[in-house]
Subunit: 147 residues, 2 copies
């Protein structure tokens, strides 16, 4: 059981931006360098987070990206529901490709739905702000060494 890389990177980008001061800008290059993850992937992630209204892009020389909402307004459960395109735990969860002969009568599906709901209900309790209680420590890790 995994979350997609897309969810993983989305969370990391939001944590990165939330660790900076409110108006401070970051670049995709800088985030890519700090996390050592592909700039191409990050560009897509930032684009999607922008479409969700979570990131603002300031264009031009000296431009960059920053959070468009407060960390306490970014709910993790809500985010993960958007970044995970695929909660098809087993075949009968797929609206398009469900060929399991048992599907109409199977009670297992209900148990798996219940488990997934419990998973997301935990994430619903958290916002990005909850992961900033040790913000100084995060900032030291992310920004103390020159790039």
């Amino acid at each position: 059981m995994r979350l997609t890389l897309y969810t993983d990177f989305s969370l990391r980008v939001l944590l990165y931006l939330a660790t900076k001061e409110a108006e401070e800008l970051s670049t995709i290059q800088e985030i890519s360098d700090r996390y050592q993850i592909s700039k191409n992937h990050l560009t897509k992630v930032v684009h999607e987070l922008g479409k969700m209204g979570l990131i603002e892009t300031v264009r031009g020389r000296g431009g960059g990206i920053r959070l468009n909402v407060k960390p306490e307004d970014i709910n993790v459960g809500e985010l993960v529901r958007k970044t995970e395109d695929d909660f098809y735990l087993v075949e009968c969860f797929r609206p398009d490709g469900n060929h399991c002969i048992l599907s109409s009568a199977c009670r297992l599906k209900g148990a798996l739905h219940e488990a997934l709901s419990a998973y997301l209900a935990v994430l619903d309790k958290y916002t990005i702000a909850d992961f900033l209680v040790n913000k100084e420590e995060l900032a030291a890790i992310l920004f103390s060494k020159p790039l």
Copy 2:
């Protein structure tokens, strides 16, 4: 977020065998035909379920497989923990490949662990027997048409 095909098929094989009468034998060919899933995949799944002690193989002419334990003794949470080789929701869950710079200080990890525990705790409440309350309906779907 998905479970592996291996987990999906394991659950389906156990449901299939549990829907038969206690001592009745099934063949991998028959299960493959009923579910329309690859016999090769099923052979591996059955082998692993055998190693876990959940399936018994009767060799020779007229042989086949059947449950080695009662459906009420097959806990779904326990099974899924064994069949999912990979609960690495995000990179920092990997013991081997964890390169996320934040890993040592990141509180998000705790929230994801908590969510995963909630997921598995729901599955821990169920055994295969819980999905047999409509056993006659399942049997009608699985066995009523000749192969």
